[in-house]
C-alpha cells in the first residue's frame, strides 16, 4: 500500500498532546507542520481536536495544497501512564523474565512480578494493584502444568477486574481457560515454548488488543476512534514499530538503540544481534529477540524524579561531588519542585543543569538494565566468558528522544552516561561501543511511529532524514572549553 499524500499524526501524552502533518511525495516524506497543546485528561478528544486543528492550519499556511480531508489520521496514546501489567511466571530467570519482556515490548509497564505459586499475600498485592492485565505464563510446551493450574485457581478467586492473558504451557491451556471461565480470560501462544526460546509476538498482539479495549474506554477516546475509523496505538508500541522499521528498512540504522527519557519513565529500545557467538563466550539464560524494549518506572525527570534520586543516587552524587556543597541542597530542592510541578520546563541555567544530570542518570540506569553482561569464568582450558542478557556492543547508532532531549538536542548525554558506568574487572557490561548519538530534535519519533506498521519504508526514511548527529554539538562544546 503506497503512503498517503498527507498524514496527520497525534500522540496523546500524559502532559502534552503533540501533533504533526507529514507529506509524502513519490514515497519521500517530509515534516510539514508541528503543534502541541496540554493534554485534556478529563476528555482526551478535546486536546486532540485542538492539536489537529492547529497543526492543519499551520500545514495549510505552509503548503496551500494541504487538504485535511485527504489526510490519513493516525494517533497514539500513553495517557493513564500506559497499560499496567502484572507478570506471573515459574522460574524468575526463565518464564517470568520472558513474560516481563513480552509485557514491555507490547508497550506495557510491569507493575509487579510473581514467580512460582501465588500465595495469599501475592493475591492480596494483585488485588491492591488491580492491573489492566495479568499475564500468566509458565512451563515449556508439554512441560510443567501444576504451577499454572494452581495460579489459575488463585486468580479465579481474586477480586480483580484485570484481563487475564494466559501465555504459558499450551498443554495446560484448556484447563487454565476453564478454571478462569468466569473471569475475563484470553489465551495466546506460549511465550517460552522451549527452555531459552523466546516467542513474545502472539502475547504482544493479544496485549495490544486488550490495550485498545481498556484505553479506549472512557475519556473520549472511543468516540474519537469511531469518528476517525482508526484505533489508537500505545505510544511505546508506536516507537517499537518505528525502531523495527528503521532497523529493517535503512541499512545504516540496522543496529540501533533508542533512549526515550520522559517525565515518568525511561524507555530503552534496541535492535541488534543479541549474541555474537565469539569463541570463548557462552550464552546462558534466555536468548533475547533482536528487537526489545525495556521500561524503567524509577527513571524519570518529573513524576519519577524522587524515585530516580533513590535509584540513581550514586551516579548523581558522583556528578555533584565536583560541584560546590550548596549545589547538593539545591539539587534536592529541584527534585521536590519538579515532582510537585511536573509540567514545568526548567526556568534557569541551574535547573537545566540539574535536568541534564538527571537525564544522564536515567540513561545510565536504563542502559545498564537493558544491556546484558559477561562474567569471566576460569576453566581448565583458560579464561572463558558467560554472557547473560543482550549484547548491545554492535549498536552503531543511538537516538535520544523525549521532551528533555528535544529541548537539549546538543546534549551528548549518552557518551557521558556510558563513561559514568565504570567497568568491573571480572564483569563486562555489554553496552554500545562508541555509538553515534542522534537527536530527535522535533520529537517526531512517536508521531512517525504511528505510521511505521503500515508504511515501514516511508516512515523509516522520513525519520532517518529528520535525525541529526549530536557530535557536531560536542565538538563545538569542546572548542568552548578553556
Amino acid at each position: 500500500m503506497p503512503a498517503p499524500r498527507w498524514a496527520v499524526c497525534v500522540d496523546i501524552g500524559s502532559t502534552f498532546t503533540k501533533g504533526a502533518v507529514f507529506g509524502f511525495e513519490g514515497g519521500v516524506g517530509r515534516l510539514v507542520a508541528r503543534a502541541e497543546a496540554p493534554t485534556t485528561t478529563e476528555d482526551l478528544a478535546r486536546g486532540f481536536e485542538t492539536v489537529r486543528k492547529e497543526v492543519a492550519a499551520r500545514a495549510r499556511a505552509r503548503e496551500p495544497g494541504f487538504s485535511p480531508g485527504e489526510a490519513a489520521v493516525r494517533f497514539s496514546s500513553s495517557s493513564r501512564g500506559g497499560l499496567r501489567i502484572a507478570a506471573i511466571g515459574i522460574v524468575p530467570d526463565l518464564t517470568l523474565s520472558v513474560a516481563r519482556l513480552a509485557a514491555a515490548s507490547a508497550g506495557g509497564k510491569v507493575v509487579k512480578s510473581f514467580a512460582y505459586t501465588l500465595t495469599a499475600a501475592d493475591v492480596a498485592a494483585l488485588e491492591a494493584l488491580d492491573p489492566d492485565i495479568v499475564l500468566l505464563t509458565g512451563g515449556t510446551d508439554g512441560g510443567d502444568e501444576k504451577h499454572n493450574l494452581a495460579n489459575a485457581a488463585a486468580l479465579a478467586g481474586a477480586r480483580i477486574t484485570s484481563t487475564i492473558l494466559y501465555a504459558g504451557n499450551r498443554a495446560a491451556r484448556d484447563a487454565v481457560v476453564e478454571i478462569l471461565a468466569a473471569r475475563n480470560c484470553i489465551a495466546a501462544d506460549n511465550v517460552m515454548p522451549e527452555v531459552g526460546v523466546v516467542r513474545v509476538e502472539p502475547a504482544r498482539e493479544a496485549i495490544r488488543r486488550v490495550f485498545l479495549r481498556r484505553i479506549v474506554e472512557g475519556k473520549g477516546l472511543a468516540a474519537l476512534a469511531a469518528a476517525l475509523g482508526t484505533d489508537p496505538k500505545p505510544t511505546p508500541l508506536a516507537v517499537y514499530e518505528m525502531v523495527r522499521a528503521l532497523s529493517e528498512e535503512c541499512p545504516e540504522w540496522r543496529d540501533v538503540c533508542v533512549l526515550d527519557i520522559g517525565g515518568a519513565t525511561t524507555d530503552c529500545y534496541s535492535a541488534v544481534e543479541p549474541f555474537r557467538g565469539e569463541p570463548g563466550v557462552v550464552l546462558h539464560g534466555i536468548r533475547e529477540p533482536r528487537l526489545t524494549r525495556t521500561v524503567e518506572g524509577d527513571c524519570g525527570l518529573r513524576v519519577s524524579a524522587e524515585a530516580l534520586w533513590e535509584s540513581g543516587r550514586a551516579l548523581i552524587e558522583r556528578e555533584l561531588a565536583a560541584a560546590p556543597p550548596e549545589e547538593a541542597a539545591a539539587f534536592a530542592a529541584h527534585i521536590a519542585r519538579v515532582t510537585e510541578r511536573p509540567a514545568q520546563a526548567p526556568a534557569s541555567a541551574e535547573e537545566s543543569r540539574f535536568d541534564a544530570i538527571m537525564a544522564r542518570a536515567c540513561a545510565a540506569l536504563a542502559l545498564k538494565r537493558h544491556a546484558g553482561a559477561m562474567r569471566a569464568v576460569y576453566t581448565a582450558g583458560g579464561k572463558a566468558w558467560v554472557q547473560r542478557g543482550k549484547d548491545l556492543r554492535g549498536v552503531t547508532r543511538a537516538i535520544g528522544t523525549g521532551g528533555y532531549l528535544a529541548r537539549n538536542a546538543e546534549d551528548d548525554f549518552l557518551a557521558r552516561a556510558l563513561a559514568a558506568l565504570a567497568p568491573e574487572p571480572e564483569e563486562r557490561f555489554l553496552f554500545p561501543e562508541a555509538p553515534v548519538l542522534y537527536a530527535d530534535r522535533d520529537h517526531v519519533v512517536p508521531l512517525i511511529g504511528s505510521l511505521a506498521a503500515e508504511w515501514p519504508r516511508e516512515a523509516a526514511q522520513l525519520l532517518a532524514a529528520r535525525l541529526r548527529p549530536v557530535a557536531e554539538g560536542v565538538e563545538r562544546e569542546r572548542d568552548r572549553r578553556p
Binding site: I90, V91, D93, L94, T95, G138, G139, T140, G142, G143, D144, E145, M192, E194, V195, G196, V282, H284, G285, V377, Y378, T379, A380, G381, A384, V386
Partner: protein, 145 residues
C-alpha cells in the same frame, strides 16, 4: 518405545567445563532414542539445570563432567533439588568425574552418597544407558501413582 508423550530430560555439562563434543553426541542420541531433550550446553550451574527441569517438567537431569572437578561442582545438587521442589527428579551423572586414577566403584559410591541415582564412567554403552533411564523414569512414575 512407550506410548504417550516422550519423557523430557535435561542435559548439560556442569561447572566451568567447556567440553561440548560429548554433550552434542548425548543430545543427538537421546533425541533419536525418543526422549525430549532440553540441552543446556556447557558451563551450566546447578540452578540452571533445576530451572530448566522445573519449566519443562523433566523427569531426569543428566549431568556431564569431563574436567575432573565433578565432585565439587555436584556437591549439594540433590539437596538443592529438594529445596526447589524437585526432590523426586532422577539425577544421573557421568564422565571423568574425579582427578587421578581411582577405582570406578569408589567414584560411583561417592556420587550415589551425594544423591545421584546413576553414575557412569567415561566409556558407556548409550543404548544400555537409555534403557536404564527409561526404566527408571517409568518406575518412578509408578511409585508416584
Amino acid at each position: 518405545m512407550t506410548a504417550g508423550p516422550p519423557h523430557c530430560i535435561v542435559l548439560g555439562v556442569i561447572g566451568a567445563d567447556c567440553h561440548s563434543v560429548g554433550n552434542t553426541i548425548l543430545d543427538a542420541f537421546f533425541t533419536d532414542a525418543g526422549f525430549k531433550v532440553v540441552n543446556l550446553g556447557v558451563m551450566v550451574s546447578q540452578d540452571e539445570f533445576i530451572d530448566a527441569a522445573i519449566e519443562s517438567d523433566a523427569k531426569a537431569i543428566l549431568v556431564s563432567s569431563l574436567y575432573g572437578h565433578g565432585e565439587i561442582d555436584c556437591a549439594g545438587f540433590r539437596g538443592r533439588c529438594i529445596e526447589r521442589g524437585l526432590g523426586g527428579v532422577l539425577l544421573y551423572v557421568g564422565g571423568n568425574l574425579v582427578v587421578g586414577r581411582r577405582p570406578f566403584a569408589e567414584v560411583e559410591a561417592k556420587f550415589k552418597a551425594m544423591g545421584f541415582d546413576r553414575v557412569f564412567p567415561p566409556g558407556v554403552d548409550l543404548d544400555a544407558a537409555a534403557a536404564l533411564l527409561r526404566a527408571d523414569i517409568e518406575e518412578a512414575a509408578h511409585a508416584r501413582a
